[in-house]
C-alpha cells in the first residue's frame, strides 16, 4: 500500500454500509481511499449471524432442514439439496430416480431465480433501471412453480432427507416446459438491453479482474471462477443427484472481469433451461421417498458433501456421533469464501467500481453470516 497518497495527505477512510443499498444486505466495507482510488477494502461481517451451526447441533436431522433455507435465502432449494445429500451420505441411502429428477428441476429453476435477482440488482446498482423489472417478472414464474409444488416461494424446504415429501402437482411438467419456452427469448431480451450497451461495457469491462491463480488462492468458486477461464463445475466434476444424465455446457470467460462474469451467468441461465427440459422430458415414474428410518441416527462418522450452488461450492461437513442430532454441522458457504477476494478485486479501482464488484460477486449476507 502506498505511503504517500496522491493528495499528499493521509489516506481517507470511508465507511460503506451496513445500510448502503448496494451492499445487498448488511455488509460493511471499510474503504481506504486515495482520492477516488481504492487502496484497500476491509469487510466487516456478522450482522446477520444467527448461529446456524450451533442450532444444527441442537436439532434433529429432520428438524434442522428448514433452517438451511434461511442461509442463502434466494437459493433455498440449493441449500436444501446440499443438506439432504449430506445426511443421505451419512445414512447411506439414496433418493429414488424420480425424486432426483424433480430435485434437479427445482434446483435449476432456483438457479435461474437466483441469477435473475442477481442480474436485476446488479444492473440497478450500476444504474440500469429497466432490467430489474423484467428480471423480477420472470422470477415470479419460477417462484409460482415452487409455490404450487410445496406451498412456499422463498424458503421452500422443498426436499426431505431421502427424497421428497410431495408428489409433483398436476401440470408440473407443462409449467416447467412453458417456463423454459417463455424464458429463453427473455434472456435474449436482457442481453439486448445490456450486452452491447456502451455504458454497461464501460462500467464492467476490466473491472475487478480476478485471474485463475488468484481464484484458486482465495478458494473462489462458482461463476467467478468460471469467468476466469476454469472449466470447473461440480455438476460435471463430481455429479450428484443424477446430473451426469443431462447434457449441458459449462460456460467460461476469458479475462475474469466483471463483464465476463455477467456473460457466464447469462449463459448459465440458458443451460439451466436445457437441463430442466431434459429432466422434464425423461422424468421417471416411481417412488419419491427412499428407505429412511423415522428416527434418523446415522452411524458414527463424518462426511463432507458439496454441490454447485448458484454462487459456488456449497458444502456441508457433518460429524455424527450416532445420535439423532449432528455432533457438528459445518456449512461451507460459497459467498463467505468468495467475499474474501473483494479486497484483491477492488485495489487500484475506483469507488464506483466497488459497487459493481460487490454486485458481481453475487453475495448473500444470510449465507455469509449464517
Amino acid at each position: 500500500m502506498a505511503d504517500a497518497t496522491f493528495l499528499d495527505s493521509t489516506e481517507l477512510v470511508l465507511n460503506m454500509g451496513p445500510q448502503h443499498p448496494s451492499t445487498h444486505g448488511v455488509l460493511r466495507v471499510i474503504l481506504k481511499l486515495d482520492g477516488e482510488k481504492v487502496l484497500g477494502a476491509d469487510c466487516v461481517i456478522g450482522y446477520l449471524h444467527r448461529g446456524v451451526e450451533k442450532i444444527g447441533e441442537n436439532r434433529t436431522y429432520q428438524m434442522f432442514a428448514p433452517y438451511v433455507d434461511r442461509m442463502d435465502y434466494v437459493a433455498s432449494v440449493s441449500n436444501g439439496l446440499g443438506y439432504c445429500l449430506a445426511v443421505e451420505k451419512l445414512l447411506n441411502v439414496e433418493a429414488p430416480p424420480r425424486a432426483q429428477a424433480v430435485r434437479v428441476i427445482l434446483t435449476e429453476l432456483n438457479r435461474i431465480a437466483s441469477h435473475l435477482l442477481w442480474l436485476g440488482t446488479h444492473a440497478l446498482d450500476i444504474g440500469a433501471m429497466t432490467p430489474v423489472f423484467y428480471c423480477l417478472r420472470e422470477r415470479e414464474y419460477a417462484l409460482n412453480i415452487f409455490e404450487k409444488y410445496c406451498g412456499a416461494r422463498l424458503t421452500t424446504h422443498a426436499f426431505r432427507i431421502g427424497g421428497l415429501q410431495y408428489e409433483t402437482y398436476d401440470g408440473f411438467e407443462e409449467d416447467c416446459r412453458a417456463f423454459c419456452d417463455m424464458f429463453l427469448p427473455r434472456v435474449d431480451e436482457y442481453e439486448e438491453l445490456l450486452t452491447g450497451n456502451r455504458i454497461w461495457i464501460d462500467r464492467l469491462r476490466n473491472v475487478g479482474i480476478l485471474n485463475i491463480e488468484d481464484c484458486k488462492a482465495f478458494g473462489v468458486t462458482g461463476p467467478v471462477l468460471r469467468a476466469a477461464g476454469a472449466k470447473w463445475d461440480l455438476r460435471k466434476a463430481q455429479p450428484y443427484s443424477g446430473y451426469e444424465q443431462y447434457d449441458f455446457e459449462i460456460p467460461i470467460g476469458e479475462n475474469g472481469d466483471t463483464y465476463d462474469r455477467y456473460l457466464v451467468r447469462m449463459e448459465e441461465m440458458r443451460q439451466a433451461c436445457r437441463i430442466i427440459r431434459q429432466a422434464v422430458d425423461k422424468l421417471p415414474s416411481g417412488p419419491i421417498m427412499g428407505k429412511v428410518p423415522k428416527v434418523m441416527k446415522p452411524p458414527v462418522g463424518e462426511a463432507y458433501v458439496s454441490i454447485e450452488a448458484p454462487k459456488g461450492e456449497l458444502g456441508y461437513f457433518i460429524v455424527s456421533d450416532g445420535s439423532t442430532q449432528p455432533y457438528r454441522l459445518r456449512v461451507r458457504p460459497p459467498s463467505f469464501v468468495n467475499l474474501q477476494a473483494l479486497d484483491r478485486m477492488c485495489r487500484g479501482g475506483l469507488v464506483a467500481d466497488v459497487v459493481a464488484i460487490i454486485g458481481t460477486l453475487d453475495i448473500v449476507l444470510g449465507e455469509i453470516d449464517r
Binding site: K54, K294, Y304, G315
Partner: protein
C-alpha cells in the same frame, strides 16, 4: 394440534414418531445390536498416500476412508507441511475449508479439519489433526490465502489461536464478545450479558 399427547416442550426435540418412545439420548445406550460407537473406516492405499507416508513418516498417524471419502489423521506439526507438499507436488491447490470439532472430554479437545481439493485430479481429501485446548497451531495462510478468513472463523467460534496468522480478529461475532459459541460447553441460548447490556441497551437478547 391438541389431538395427540405431545411430548413436553423442551430441549431434545424428537421427530413425530408413532410410538411415544422415551427420549433416546446417547448417554444411556442400551446394549442391543447397536451400530458401533466408533467410525468404521477402511484403509486407504494408493500412490498418493504412499508418497505422503514416505515423505512424512510418523507424521501420518492414519490414512483411511469413510463412505468413500479419504482422509489423513496427522500430528499437529505435520498439517501445514503436508498442505504445502500437497499443493506443490500433487496439485491440491484449492483449500476448500478449515473447521474444528470440539470434544471436551478428550485430552486433545479439538479436531482441526482441513479439506483440500485438486482440480487436476478431481479429488478431495481431508487432513485431520488433534490439538489441545490452548494450543496454537501454525497458520495455513502462507500456503493458501483463503485460510485467512477460515481461520478467523475457527478462532471466533472455538477460540483456537493460530500462530503467525496475519490478522487474527473475530469475524462473525462482535469484537468484544466473550466466549466461543461453538464450544460444547457454550449453551444454545447463552449470551454475553455484559455486551448485550452495553451495546444493545437491553437486559437480554433472548
Amino acid at each position: 394440534m391438541a389431538d395427540e399427547t405431545k411430548p413436553p416442550e423442551g430441549q431434545p426435540p424428537q421427530p413425530p414418531s408413532p410410538p411415544p418412545k422415551p427420549a433416546a439420548k446417547p448417554a444411556a445406550k442400551p446394549a442391543a445390536p447397536k451400530p458401533p460407537a466408533v467410525m468404521v473406516t477402511t484403509p486407504w492405499e494408493d500412490d498418493l498416500t504412499r508418497a505422503v507416508k514416505e515423505r512424512f513418516g510418523d507424521g501420518i498417524v492414519e490414512s483411511v476412508s469413510y463412505v468413500g471419502q479419504k482422509f489423513w489423521v496427522v500430528t499437529p506439526e505435520t498439517a501445514i507441511p503436508l498442505l504445502e507438499y500437497l499443493k506443490r507436488e500433487a496439485d491440491f491447490d484449492y483449500l476448500v475449508d478449515i473447521t474444528a470439532v470440539h470434544y471436551p472430554k478428550r485430552e486433545k479437545a479439538f479436531d482441526l479439519v482441513y479439506i483440500v481439493y485438486s482440480f487436476a485430479r478431481n479429488e478431495r481429501v481431508r487432513i485431520k489433526t488433534q490439538i489441545r485446548d490452548g494450543d496454537e497451531p501454525p497458520t495455513a495462510v502462507p500456503v493458501h490465502l483463503t485460510a485467512n478468513w477460515l481461520e478467523r472463523e475457527v478462532y471466533d467460534m472455538f477460540g483456537i489461536r493460530f500462530a503467525g496468522h496475519p490478522d487474527l480478529r473475530r469475524i462473525l461475532m462482535p469484537d468484544e464478545w466473550e466466549g466461543f459459541p461453538l464450544r460444547k460447553e457454550y449453551g444454545i441460548v447463552q449470551q454475553d450479558n455484559r455486551w448485550v447490556r452495553e451495546n444493545l441497551e437491553i437486559e437480554s437478547a433472548q
